[in-house]
Structure formats: C-alpha cells, structure tokens
Amino acid sequence: MIRSLLALALFAATPVVAADVQVSASILPQGRISETTQVRLIIRIDGSAIPDVGTPKLPAMKNLQITGGPSTARNSSYTFDNGRIVSSSSLSLTYVLTPAGKGPAEIPPFDVIVGGTAYRTQALRFNVEAGRSGPAPPGPAPGMPREDRGDDDGDDASVDVFLQAKLGATSVYSGQPVRLDVTMYSAAPVNGFTWADVPSLPGLWSEDLPVDPGRDRRVVTMNGRQYNAYPVARKLVVPTGSGPLTIQPFSAQVQVHRPTRDPFGAFFSLGGYVNIVRRTAALKLDVKPLPETGRPAEFSGAVGSFRMKATADRTAVDLGEAVAVKVTIEGEGSLQSAAAPKLTAPPDVKIYEPKILDDAMTGADHLGARKTWEWVVVPLAPGNVNIPAPTFAYFDPGTASYRQLRGDLPELSVRRGNGVVDPVASRGEVQANTKDIAFLKMRRGALQEARPPLHRRGWFLALLVLPFLLTPAGIAFGRRRERFLTDHGFARARRAARTAAKRLDRAAKRAGGSPAAFHEEVAGALVDYVADRANRKAAGLTYDHLDDILAAKGVPEEPRRRYRACLETCDFARFVPDSGRPQAVAELVAEARTILRALEEVA
C-alpha cells in the first residue's frame, strides 16, 4: 500500500532529444523516501560524442537542500553494426540532496548546457515521509536483507540506526540548568558520523560538555533488539527567559556497514557502506519564571542550591597593607549570570572591585558550579576593623523560594606600622568620610521683605489685562492710520476743518494789514474747506457748485445761505477795499468760524 502511494511520485524525467544527444534527470532511490533518506539527483547525458558539458545551475528546490556533488562518471562503448563501428558515450552528474522535512518535494525544471545547446529537464516530484527517530518496532531485524525489496539502492530505513535527544528535565525555572544529551543508537557497525544540522538554541544559554562516543559507548536493549548507544553530543543549557521552548531536531549523516544479501558474502562480512541521515525528534521545555515576591535586592540570577565560604588571607596587617578576601559560592545549579556577593566597605577601609578567580562547572553530570571572587581590602586607619559579612542571594528551585547566604569574616587588626598608607594601594576616587550640612548663605544685597506673590499684585494683573484692552484700540488706530496714508480724499476731509481754522487764524492776524488779503484768506478758508470735504479742486468752484456740494452732503438751507453770504461779503470786500468797517473784520471771522462749525456738525 505504501509503495503504491509512493508510486504517485514522478521519479524520472522524459529525456530531451536534440540531434543524437539525450539529457535526462532522475532521482535515487526510487522507493520510499523518508526525511532521513539521502536523495541522489542524477543528470545523465547520452550521445555518440558528448561535447563540453557545463555545470548545471540547480534551481531552488522545494523541501530539499544540496549536501553534496556534483560527482561525474563517464562511460563509453563501441558496437559493430553492419561492419561499422558505432560509438556511444554517457556522462552522469550526481548531486546529493537531503530532505528538509516530511511532505511533498520538488525539483523544478532546469537547463543543462551541452556543447552550447541548452537541454531542459522536466520537474521531479516525490513525497517525503516522516523518518523514524526511535528504535525499530518489534519484528524481524530491519537490517536483514529482504527478498521482496525490488530496489537496488539504499532504502536506508532498513538500517537500524536512530538518533535520540533527551533533556534532563522537561520543566525548569528560568536560569536553572538542565542537561541535553544526544545519543546515536545503532544495531549495525558504524563507520563514520558527521553532523548535518545542529540547531541553534534560542532562549537558551548553552555550553558544550565533553563526550567520547567510543569510551562512553554502552549496549542497550530496546524493543527486544540490542543497540550500541553512542553519546554524540552533550550540552548544558540554561533558559534565559520563561515560557515554552522548542529545541529543533538534530540531524547527522551516519556511514554504516550494510550487510550483503549473498550468504557467502554475509559469512565473510562482505558488503558495502551506506550513508544515511538520522534526525532526532523536537523537544519541548517548559520554563517557569522566577517569582517576584520575596526576591532579595542583591539577587543577581543564581538558580540552584549553593553554599558560601568567606576567608581573609590574614587577620593582622600594618596600615596600608592589603588583605585578600575570598568568597566562594559552590553548589548545584548555574552561576553563569551570578554577580559578586555584596561586600560593603566600612569607614576607613578601601575595597577594590573584585576579580573572579575561579568559574567552573562541577559534578559528574556537570550540573554543579563553583565561582570564587577575590577583593583587595586596604585599611586606611589603624584599629580593629569589622568588615560586614558578604551576602549572596539565590533561588532554590527545590523549595521554590529565595535564599540568602552570609559568610562571616574575621576581625582585622590594623597596626599603625610605619604610619604610611601606600599611595598606590589607597588610590581611588575621593569619597566623603562623613556628611554634614552645607554652610550658611552669605548676604549679597538687602534682605527681601515678605511680599505677596506676583500674580496677586495689582500692577501685574493690570499689565496682564491691559493687552486685551489695548488690542481693539490698536487695531482701530492702525486702520485709521493706514487709511490716512492710502486714501487722499479721506485725509483731506479729516484735515479740512483744522486747515480752515488755521487759515481763519492767519486771516485774523492779517486783519490789520491789507483788507483784500484778509478777505481773500477768509474766502479761501471757506472754499477750501468745502473742496477738501468733497475731495474736489478749489479752483473753478462757483457759488452754485459750492451750494450743490453742501446740499449733496445734506447741509440745510440756512447754513448754506449764510455760507454763501459770507463768501459774497468777502468777495465784495476784496474788490471794494474801503467798504468794511474795522469791527466787521472780527465779526466776519466769527461768522466764518460759526459757519464752519455748523457745516462740520452736519457734514
């Protein structure tokens, strides 16, 4: 049934024929292909004479990756046909391909250049089945030859070899180390082993542990069969975050001895070697986060079960001499991210940054760790010095709680000695010995009296409100000023009354001189006033024109009549100089002013 399903795959391309050259592509094996089967792509060129063949450029393939090739094989043959010698040649190019996973696989058509001519192959499609990653099921040994097998090439499922990856625990806390072992189980003799794919381990810090497959080989029985178990990889992995993690499969190419079907050959251990690919199953690891509650301030990521040892290399020193303080943390777990224990410097003691003396994995299974820090401590004053006990916090997965270690240090006796502190040993940043308040503030200038805050002072509020009042006035002023500058008629009209008043003042001053000039000035003031208000030229305006203008501006009859009478009086006096009386001068000016006021009010 399985074989019939597999027959759905197309295993050979139809040859492309051009002249006497034929190009074909095919794959081997032609039977069941699993994700651990090495697939060979064979490009065969046949012809009486094979010109130069370029290396084909293989297209991107679905679910396949190239792991070897091309290797070439050339074959020539000669036959006699009716007394003629007929020669034929063939050239084979072979690529080794490895399935990326189970599912359909495809090699798209590609060109093979033979003697400058491109020959196109057809697409090759087949199905990749899931490979076995565990021991063979109970039954006849799969490594034994089977008579019903029609293929002549490596159905490597018949070789009882498998890879197995195993985690030391499937549920751990973040930062808790766990061991990952990859073991190859083989029921057949193994000749070579090469990693094909070692997955990256996202979310995990890992360190390779030493393995010796030959030395650590052991014999195990699974499903009634005996296997040689070879540890091929061992890692210590430490989750750096939390949440579910997946470790992708490891895959390797294994060269194993394949027994021959010939009983004679089998008796003498004859047979060939076959390269097979084996792959582990993916692994799941559940990583629990470290609890937030109860986490000490000095906790720096150590997870496990530890103990502390603190020592000082001497207990009595001269002033300025250095004391080495060592703290060792050791136990089961990871110290990879652990920071140095907290060592607080008492007054008059200088403690330098620690250096790590030892950082090692311990234990037979390498799940232990040891880390040693050393501080250089320099007393700066004589007397007895008690260095506070160093403290170290870690998370204990066994009890799911945080724990704190303290390592008591002996009291240091600091002798005065020569009384000189080694300037190099005591070198460091200047630090305050004690703290006190800053000194007084000296007076510069007079002391300030208590005043209400700025926003409660009248002048400030006035200054704040004033812009809102001034803005409309400013806008009005600006508009008026612009109209004065741009509208000549408006400017004349607005200045008319002022100009006329000035002329009347000037006329009054001239009253003692020439009467004609006086009357001309008064008449000019009256005429120019109306001309300015109407934005007309004064020259050429007759009494009737002036009257019409005033009437058009809505001036009533009486003011117009008085205006005309005043003008006529002036004109008459200009031409009859002795007609006026002295007191009539002042009356005329007063009359003109009255008329102008009346016109100003109306117009």
Binding site: K435, D436, I437, A438, F439, L440, K441, M442, R443, A446, L447, Q448, E449, A450, R451, P453, L454, H455, F460, L463, L464, P467, F468, L470, T471, G474, I475, A476, F477, G478, R479, R481, E482, T486
Partner: protein, 259 residues
C-alpha cells in the same frame, strides 16, 4: 541757681546725646547688620546667639530664603530637627532651585525617627520639576506676560493691516498661544506643588494622631519631631493631617507649625 541751671542744661544735653546715640545704634542694627552678626556668631559656634539673631529678623516681616536657610542650619546645629526642617522647607519654597537647601534637608530628614516615603518623581517628570524650580514661579509669570503682550502686538499689527494675517504671523501667533498655554500650566503646577498644598512640620518630640479632634478619640499613630505632614482641615485647635502613605489623623495645633 546758676549751677542748677548749668546742671539742668548738662542733663538735657546728655539726654539728647543719648537719644541721638540710641537712634544711631538703631540705624547700625539694620536687618542686614543683624544678619551678618548672626552669621558671625554661627561661624564661631555660638548657635544660640545665631538662632536668636536670625529668628529676630523674622519679626521684621522678612521673607528671604537665605534667612530661612541660615536659621534652619542653626537649628540643625542646635539639634532641633523639627525647627530645622520647618525652615528648610520655607527656604525651599522661596528658592526651590538651590541644591544646598535640598541636600541639607535630606540630611536632616535622615536623622528623623519617622521614615515616610517622599513624593519623589523620576525620569522626565523630575527633569521638568527641576527646570520649573530653576526658572522660578515669578519668572514663569513674567514669561507668560511677555507672551500675552507679544500676542496682543501681533493681533493689533495684523488686524490693522489691509493684508491681515499672513501665514507667518498666523503660525507665530499659534506658537505664542501654545507657549502661553504651556507656561500657564507649568506655572500652575509649580505653584500648586510649592504653595498649593498647606503643610506643616511636627515640632514636638512626639504627638499622637487621633481619630478625631478631641482627646477622647482613639490614638491612631504617633508622629515624631520633624516629619512634614499635609494639612487636610482645621478645627478648634486641631489639625487634620495626612501622610504620604495614606495615614490620616488629628493632632493638636500647637504640636505643628505651618510651612
């Protein structure tokens, strides 16, 4: 008789001299002179004399941050932490940008018996507060005033022109409006932070905070000298105070003094 007259004249003259001298002495003891004399007393370690000098100046109606700071320093030296913190708080209110006020107050607070988390902002908020303190409350108001006047000038100028508001003037006006708004908010926040909330400092060595304004109420907790509290309300010789951790109680008014 003549001698009596002479004696009387001498007495009057001496009296006048004394009066003149007294007035001269009064002029010499100006607030500034008293301040300098108190500083000298502090410098010589005469804490009591310095405190009397600085405290006497407060009666002049002065509100100078240097005076409050120096008085706080003097009280600190005298071991009166409550008075010291009270005057540091007042000095900080008058000049929030001075780092020494903050540092000295922190040092004084570190000696208090009561430990209460202060309202310390972090990150951007702290940077904004520092900037606000450095600029000062009054300077922010002056900046606001300048913005208002500038806006009025732009509106007047553009409103009186036949072209009206050009895009450039419009954007300038919008920018000034936004600036004014932000400055106003900043001033309001600064004022509220420094002056808006009535606070007091406990001056008694210890005082019981009661459940109500009366001795027949249950004692909820005890406050000790120097702790600053927020005044929630007042009633007949009692202050209802609260702490940053949410505790609220009533203490007698005499036990605390307003900042």
């Amino acid at each position: 008789m003549t001698r009596r007259l002479v004696n009387a004249g001498l007495s009057i003259a001496i009296g006048l001299l004394v009066l003149v001298g007294a007035s001269a002495t009064t002029r010499a003891d100006s607030p500034e002179d008293t301040f300098d004399a108190a500083c000298r007393a502090y410098d010589q370690g005469h804490w009591d004399a310095a405190a009397d000098g600085f405290r006497g100046l407060l009666r002049y109606g002065l509100a100078d941050w240097r005076l409050e700071y120096n008085l706080a320093n003097t009280e600190y030296k005298r071991g009166r932490l409550g008075e010291a913190i009270l005057h540091y708080e007042r000095a900080r209110r008058l000049n929030p940008a001075d780092a020494e006020i903050v540092a000295n107050m922190a040092l004084a607070r570190a000696k208090l018996r009561d430990v209460v988390e202060d309202d310390n902002a972090a990150g951007v908020l702290q940077a904004v507060r520092t900037a606000q303190d450095r600029v000062g409350v009054s300077a922010q108001l002056v900046l606001l005033l300048a913005c208002v006047w500038l806006m009025a000038a732009i509106v007047s100028w553009c409103g009186s022109r036949s072209g009206g508001f050009t895009p450039g003037w419009g954007w300038s006006l919008a920018g000034l409006l936004l600036t004014s708004f932000l400055v106003f908010l900043s001033w309001r926040a600064t004022w509220s932070r420094l002056e808006g909330t009535p606070r007091a400092v406990i001056l008694k060595a210890s005082v019981e905070a009661l459940a109500g304004p009366g001795q027949n109420n249950a004692a909820l907790f005890t406050l000790h000298e120097g702790i600053a509290v927020t005044i929630e309300s007042e009633r007949e010789g009692w202050l209802q105070v609260s702490l940053p951790n949410g505790l609220t109680g009533w203490v007698v008014r005499d036990a605390a003094e307003r900042i």
